[in-house]
């Protein structure tokens, strides 16, 4: 009788611990979400003209306050939302690619998509002449016909995606080979961009370089809408497939044994991650390291289990890009630094730090 009691106690004590452990992860996700919200309001309130938080809430609730309303609705709100949307999109693509390609270096950048988009931008400016430019009062350069640049950048990133998918599908390439193909495509497109730049004049060169520095401030409401309309369904797709990614993480053979169609999941995941990245980069320019670093930050805190990792990566991505952009706006105020410069600067040391800490553990 005593013995039976003991066994029953055991049976109950494990899920109790497990529930505690699950709860801890959910709390981490909730806290980072609250953090994101806080920074969101903060970023709307600060800038060249500070808007008191009080006024921020009132404006967002629909009240009209002179000056503040215009600044918030036309500039700060779309900018903050674009940062969140792009951060989520890049980070969720990165976390999916890391699983699909079974490689911690998996990210939109690794597959050559960013470089292909940059090549497309250079192509549109230098060959198609989309980049006859003029300076605005603030001294920033603007590309005259940004839509052509966006569309061409997008088309070239799709070209890279389909080259990658076609090679891997046709040759049945392994994840390792896909990464290598991505690296090869990256350097191919970089070489192409350099080739074009060699024949460009100063003005065109400046336009290409300007485009390459990713900046979330470029998005207006319409573009923000397009980005969000792609990022949100992609995020839902990736979250929906979390158990498939868990299974693939356990090895292709284990995943197949669990009934997962590994090839199909891999193909769709790559296609979607590439598409999301292509859309974001085409509108905002190249934003490095978010797709690589944010999933790894989330991993450090929450582990490799995809149920928690994917949502945590989404939030970390939005949070980090928004925080970086806010910092980039404030650092050299009244000058606004493109956020990509900051993410690249911070991303590399942060990444190295995370790796060193990880290996010490």
């Amino acid at each position: 009788m005593d013995k039976k009691m003991d066994i029953n106690k055991d049976v109950e004590s494990i899920p109790l611990n497990y529930n505690k452990y699950v709860k801890k992860k959910i709390i981490f996700i909730l806290i980072s979400f609250l953090f994101l919200i806080t920074i969101f309001f903060y970023s709307i309130s600060v800038g060249n003209a500070n808007v008191p938080l009080n006024d921020v809430f009132r404006v967002l609730l629909g009240q009209n306050i002179e000056n503040s309303s215009t600044i918030i609705w036309n500039i700060r709100l779309p900018r903050a939302l674009a940062a969140i949307s792009a951060g989520v999109g890049l980070s969720v693509s990165g976390v999916a690619l890391q699983s699909i390609l079974r490689n911690p270096l998996g990210s939109p950048y690794t597959l050559g998509i960013s470089n292909a988009a940059a090549f497309g931008a250079a192509f549109s400016v230098i060959i198609l002449g989309a980049g006859s430019m003029h300076s605005t009062g603030a001294g920033a350069v603007i590309i005259n016909n940004p839509y052509i640049t966006t569309i061409v950048a997008f088309l070239w990133s799709l070209v890279a995606t389909f080259m990658l998918l076609a090679i891997s599908k046709y040759k049945g390439a392994s994840p390792e080979v896909m990464i290598l193909i991505g690296v090869a495509l990256s350097s191919l497109f970089t070489a192409g961009t350099m080739f074009l730049q060699y024949f460009a004049d100063d003005v065109e060169l400046a336009a290409v370089v300007f485009w390459t520095f990713g900046d979330v401030g470029r998005a207006d409401w319409g573009e923000l809408g397009i980005i969000t309309a792609v990022v949100v369904p992609a995020m839902i797709y990736f979250i929906h497939n979390r158990w498939n990614y868990n299974a693939i993480d356990a090895g292709d053979e284990t995943a197949r044994g669990l009934g997962v169609n590994v090839e199909r999941i891999r193909l769709w995941g790559m296609l979607l991650a590439s598409f999301v990245t292509a859309i974001i980069i085409s509108f905002l320019g190249v934003i490095g390291f978010i797709g690589l670093v944010c999933p790894h930050i989330a991993r450090r805190f929450i582990g490799d289990e995809q149920r928690f990792l994917i949502p945590a990566s989404c939030i970390t991505g939005g949070l980090l890009l928004l925080a970086s952009d806010t910092a980039a706006r404030l650092m050299l105020s009244p000058h606004v630094l493109p956020v990509a410069i900051l993410t690249s600067f911070m991303g590399a040391p942060l990444f190295i730090y995370l790796l060193v800490r990880g290996y010490r553990n």
Partner: protein
């Protein structure tokens, strides 16, 4: 379970031909043969991870090869020789085995099944440890537990003892035996250690040149058959209630 006339080719050539055997509830089958003869390939075919060129595989009279992936996964639990290990807890690693039964959410029932398997295999202490910090024996147990929570009709184990010490070898096979007996399911394993196989299996398939050389009970493990399949001269001795294969030079 029933396998008949199974045939499979890799692009590089013919590997399996005319494979057939049967297996009943509560029985363990050992697939024996030298390296590279196609044992792993055979397990993958049974599971339809590799699609056989022809042949029939039935589990409880249901045709496996015409089923959807997750229908197969609910009937066959496969533990490959190697799996990847990430930074996730043993509990979550085992919970993954519920995937073929799960919808969008983990249900209390799934947690309960994982829990009872953890208790049965005495994995309580490691259930919240990360699997990349487990020993080889512990990890093998976790992988086995993952296949068990699949609640399969047949367990397919590819060299389940290959990386384990003597104690863990016996431990894992005793657990297989116990599970098969208690749940009246079947198990198929491949193994290089003939003596270990002789201790735990009820039936044997000797594979030679991609074909079934002999199929039957422990009476087929004779010096003549072993020499034919492995090209080694052996004696078969009966000691302490078990048969032992002893090489002679």
């Amino acid at each position: 379970m029933n396998v008949d006339n199974l045939e499979f080719n890799y692009k590089s050539g013919n590997v399996l031909k005319d494979i057939g055997f049967e297996l009943y509830h509560g029985e363990i089958l050992a697939i024996l043969g030298p390296n590279g003869v196609g044992k792993t390939t055979l397990l993958r075919c049974i599971n339809n991870i590799l699609s056989p060129k022809k042949g029939i595989i039935k589990v409880e009279d249901e045709d496996i090869l015409s089923m959807k992936n997750d229908e197969i996964a609910r009937r066959l639990g496969y533990v490959p020789q190697r799996s990847e290990v990430g930074r996730l807890t043993a509990f979550d690693a085992i919970l993954l085995g519920r995937k073929p039964h799960m919808g969008f959410h983990v249900k209390d029932k799934d947690i309960g099944i994982v829990n009872s398997v953890i208790n049965k295999l005495e994995l309580e202490k490691l259930s919240l440890r990360n699997i990349n910090e487990l020993s080889g024996g512990e990890l093998q147990k976790v992988m086995f537990a993952r296949a068990l929570v699949q609640e399969p009709k047949v367990l397919l184990l590819d060299e389940p003892t290959s990386s384990l010490d003597l104690k863990n070898q016996l431990g894992i096979l005793k657990t297989v035996r116990q599970t098969v007996d208690e749940n009246q399911i079947s198990a198929v394993f491949t193994m290089h250690d003939l003596n270990l196989a002789l201790r735990f299996a009820d039936r044997y398939v000797l594979v030679k040149n991609g074909r079934v050389f002999k199929h039957g009970g422990s009476d087929i493990i004779t010096p003549e058959n072993i020499e034919q399949v492995y090209e080694v001269k052996v004696d078969v001795e009966y000691i302490n209630g078990y048969y032992f294969v002893i090489p002679i030079d």
